[in-house]
Symmetry: C2
Subunit: 102 residues, 2 copies
Amino acid sequence: MNMEMDKKDAENAPLDAEQFAAICKALGHPARVRIIKHLKAMDRCICGQIVEILPLAQSTVSQHLKQLKAAGLIRGEIEGMKTCYCLDHDALERFKRMAAMI
Amino acid sequence: MNMEMDKKDAENAPLDAEQFAAICKALGHPARVRIIKHLKAMDRCICGQIVEILPLAQSTVSQHLKQLKAAGLIRGEIEGMKTCYCLDHDALERFKRMAAMI
DNA sequence: CATGTTCATCGTAAAACGACGATATACGAT
DNA sequence: ATCGTATATCGTCGTTTTACGATGAACATG
């Protein structure tokens, strides 16, 4: 009966500062914002393409991707030798809702 | 003729990653999100009240306020011995618009 | 099997952050 | 003038972030 309370509460909660701050922190770097923008434009793309559009070393980009993934904003699935990243649209929507109530 | 181009462009730009990331970074700490929330509830309040609602030293809170001010999200005006802080609603609106187009 | 490609992780160095106590500044009150 | 109050800034310390090159793991190809 109250198994779903967490989810329900989360939807109309005033705003969880910890949660919102965590996502903002993940978006708090230009490179990561550009990654999100690019994924939005491409819908999904492989890691190599993201490395190409950023003036950063491959290892650095990989770290940024890791942070975005840890924040739940993107997902990455290994496809053979490559890794394909895409947005987590639900997470982005949650972020937008939270941002709107700031 | 193009003296105002900066401003115009900023209004309908797809999204300036640097700008958006800077604001997100400022919001990337729970204490600062709580400060914003509190200012939204109170509309304006003196620094001392903010210090009271956070489990942090006064100097730490002062630093967080400084970051929020540097990001343009809040303004602070000295009123005699106290300092009164309030939200910069325009900046918040710009942030919300940017967040919505992420 | 050997080699090349794609990506993640490790190790590291510099910079930035977060927190605190101590101090400085500015003002009001006595 | 002195004292107390409110706030900002300084100095410091430990942690985290950002960046890089080097290395490793997984897979494809010759």
